[in-house]
Amino acid sequence: MSSAAVTTASASPASNAGKSILARLGAAFVGRLVIIIPYVWLLFFFLIPFVIVFKISLSQTAIAIPPYTPALDFSGGISGFLAQLKQLSLDNYTWLTQDALYFNAYVTSVIIAAVSTVLTLLVGYPIAYGMARAPATIRPTLLMLVILPFWTSFLIRVYAWIGILKPEGLLNQLLLATGVIHQPLIILNTYTAIFIGIVYSYLPFMVLPLYSALEKMDYSLIEAAKDLGCPPTSAFWKITFPLSLPGVIAGCLLVFIPAVGEFVIPDLLGGSQTLMIGKTLWNEFFANRDWPVSSAVAVILLLLLIVPIMLFQRAQARAQEMDR
């Protein structure tokens, strides 16, 4: 794990023949650097922080700077370190199980994320399908149009919905003016607003993998099914959908995983009544300044997501193999 030694640099024997030993040594050294630099960076800024989060989740809250004890301190040598280890406890985790707030927040987050993922799939599939069947000349433009909102700020896109959804907002104005409703709908600060926000913000993440799966599909299969008398709906479920499954899985994971820990959307659209774990963690950290408990919340959240994250990794690796 710690050493990133290159065992094989993939170069064909034919091209190796002409090279001098010096050049080969140089190549090996550069090759090693190519691996080591990003490797060390990610170890230090991605993996080690998680170890620290885990460690602090076992610490006690303290009124100090930093606000937890024992702080990570190696000045006491081995014995001092061992003494610190003895002070670690599972108190924060016990605390999480005792207060129903946290359990509810976890469950609600998973349910909200799951429902929004299904909704995003339902909205995104027809769009991706339409794009894949579009004339080849306009496909790049359509693709660009799906990607473009992704480049604009997430915060701004969520903010834009406040003006639309609030009681005196644009949606209610429209519906009242057209006589569809007579009382303004209360949408902002409810779970409905969170669903709308997640579907809207994560739609490109769903459409892109679906599109790339559907675009590769061979449509003569559908025509063959039709010629053999298969009705369009059953042709869809028997051919199109199974073939697009890699895209469906990748899209759902890309929406579900970040949505579980989402903070901006529940905070801005969900109001104070809605409960999601990302918001709970944020409040625990910024409002209560309880670093150990927020670390424990983060550890549990990570454990909750480890299976979907590994599935995502597997899907990525498989897609990579297929592209080779």
């Binding site: 290159v6 065992t7 094989t8 034919a14 091209s15 002409g18 090279k19 190549a27 090759g31 190519v34 691996i35 630099i37 990003p38 960076w41 990610l42 800024f45 991605f46 080690i48 922080p49 620290i52 989060v53 602090i56 930093p66 702080a71 909205v123 027809p126 769009i127 399908y129 339409g130 069947r133 004339p135 080849a136 660009m144 473009l148 480049w151 604009t152 700020s153 701004i156 903010y159 834009a160 003006g163 639309i164 609030k166 005196e168 644009l170 809207y200 739609l203 970040p258 820990g261 903070f263 901006v264 990302g278 963690l281 944020w282 950290f285 670390s295 983060a298 959240l301 997501l305 995502f312």
Partner: protein
């Protein structure tokens, strides 16, 4: 092909794009609203843009965000490109699974976790929170996105070009800079742009890792949004959208021109 592009397909695309773009369009329209109310149209006005430029806090935050974005995107592009090379070229080395895990996991990791863990790292090593810590955090997050973008280009890269260069006596380093780098350059440029916009956009990680004096624009916008929706924020958002849109359009035009040039070159080569 047009026959199979049914009315259903067209409708779903039109509705889908309306859903994607209408909120942004409305936001832009109401930034030109004379009235202080964001949802009631009171006539055309650009006064919110004028007041924006007199808002010192917002201008300072913009400056901080621009610097963080430029520095972090540039470093992240270098690191991300190296990571992409590692992922595609070195298929077998110790710890490869861990490495690819560390590249892909940040893409989906909830931001609150990444933000908290990076903050605790900075506290543990005794780094004062501020400009540097936000930049380091953004490099870590965005390098993974760069890696994915560049990697997908490297996948389709014709390695025989490199082999030809090396057979003709070019060293691997020279081959990389003369052959590989120019070919994957469009992907590197779009990786840089993605990194820059992600950094420009980030609220959660910046809130955790930033300190006094390094308030970024999203943090500023967020704190004002919590107080209520105002046309001034709409104006700030519109400018941000315009900057990004212009950047993306320029990049795609440049890309298209390069593509056309490449096709012309190929045709010329075939004729010759």
């Amino acid at each position: 092909m047009n026959a199979t592009w049914s009315r259903f397909n067209i409708t779903s695309i039109v509705l889908g794009f309306a859903f994607l773009y209408l909120p942004i369009v409305l936001l832009i329209v109401f930034s030109f609203n004379e009235s202080k109310l964001v949802t009631v149209w009171g006539g055309f006005s650009t006064k919110w843009y004028v007041s924006l430029f007199h808002n010192q806090g917002l201008m300072d935050a913009t400056w901080v965000t621009a610097r963080v974005g430029l520095i972090s995107a540039t470093v992240a592009t270098v690191l991300g490109t190296l990571a992409a090379l590692t992922l595609t070229r070195y298929t077998r080395f110790k710890g490869r699974v861990l490495f690819s895990g560390m590249v892909f996991a940040p893409l989906v990791m909830p931001e609150v976790i990444t933000g908290l863990s990076l903050l605790l790292l900075f506290v543990a090593v005794g780094l004062d929170r501020g400009f540097l810590t936000v930049t380091l955090a953004h490099i870590t997050l965005t390098m993974c996105f760069v890696a994915v973008v560049v990697q997908s280009r490297l996948m389709t890269f014709d390695r025989s070009l490199e082999e030809a260069a090396m057979d003709l006596g070019a060293t691997p380093v020279k081959t990389f800079f003369q052959i590989t780098l120019p070919v994957i350059m469009p992907a590197i440029v779009s990786g840089w742009m993605l990194a820059f916009t992600l950094s420009l956009d980030d609220l959660v990680i910046a809130s955790f890792t930033s300190g006094p004096g390094a308030t970024t624009l999203p943090m500023k916008i967020y704190s004002q949004v919590r107080l209520g929706v105002t046309p001034e924020i709409n104006a700030a958002c519109t400018i941000l959208i315009a900057v990004v849109a212009i950047g993306v359009i320029i990049a795609s035009l440049a890309n298209k021109r390069r593509e056309v040039q490449r096709q012309l070159d190929e045709q010329a080569a075939q004729r010759g």
